[in-house]
Amino acid sequence: MKILIVDDSRAMRRIIQRTLRQAGFKGYEIVEAENGAEALDLVRSESPDLILSDWHMPVMSGLEFKRALNEADLDIPFGFITSENTLEMRAVAAEAGADFLLAKPFTPNDMAQALGLFVT
């Protein structure tokens, strides 16, 4: 199984990988991108099974990235991991077809609950 992590912060990509391990998700291949445009290329070349994306990023935001996936009929399990935790933002994420939104800060247990349906 391959997980694509999309975040412009190198630190947050490290934190997400650490939390995945702490949540018991081990042995998965991780692919990283710094923005939505880079991630879109990686989706085509790497065929990830799950995408974890930040919301605010330069070049192409997470929301624009998700909408680009929708337009290309690329139906891959998709979750936002973001500081945006207002009801308004959650509604926008759901409307765009995101499977979940994991708000920062998050614990390994939060991660396990959010990803449980998608990672076997």
């Binding site: 912060s9 702490q22 973001t82 500081s83 935790n85 800060p105």
Partner: protein, 181 residues
């Protein structure tokens, strides 16, 4: 340099913070460090964060609305910053903590804290946009603020003496672009 920048900002901002601003900033940092690091920070007394001889570093992030700009700053001594970095990235004791790691860690803590702060303020109807965090590197005096800065800040410490000073500045009005670190 860092000390004079913070003192200058303190002279330039509104002396009265909007209701609960400093409380929300403090709670945001406490919640972020608790959830992301498992560290329990609590308000502490005293002017200092860390030993007097330790260099001070930190991170600042601005949040803007139509009404004005918040600038949240976290300052800590280098030893606390390195310990926080090791915990955040699950680094081993024998791993060297580079300055880039510390900058990444403090900036990420402030980025996440800003999101929590934004959620607090959103519940009061305040719509904020989060800017990008900036790493602050200074000398040992920056962690010992003047009375003016101290009034806009809270010192937080863990049981094993890792400390962070959280500062919240507010500048009212649309012309608040100068309120950035």
């Amino acid at each position: 340099m860092l000390t004079s920048m913070i003192e200058s900002l303190a002279r330039d901002v509104s002396q009265e913070l909007p209701a609960d601003g400093l409380t929300h900033a403090t709670e945001a940092v406490i919640e972020t460090c608790d959830v992301q690091l498992g560290w329990s920070f609590a308000p502490a007394d005293g002017p200092a964060a860390g030993p007097a001889t330790s260099p001070c570093c930190g991170s600042a992030i601005a949040l803007t609305s139509d009404d004005g700009t918040w600038l949240l700053i976290a300052l800590c001594d280098l030893d606390s910053a390195r310990r926080l970095t090791r915990a955040l990235f699950a680094m081993d004791d024998y791993d060297d903590v580079m300055i880039e790691d510390t900058a990444d860690a403090l900036n990420e803590i402030m980025n996440v804290s800003a999101g929590v702060f934004k959620s607090h303020r959103d519940r009061r109807g305040e719509k904020l946009s989060i800017g990008l965090p900036t790493y602050l590197d200074g000398d040992e005096t920056a962690c010992r603020p003047s009375d003016r800065v101290a009034r806009s800040s809270r010192l937080l410490c863990t049981d094993d003496d890792a400390c962070i000073r959280v500062i919240a500045f507010w500048r009212e009005g649309s012309d608040s672009g100068r309120l950035h670190a």
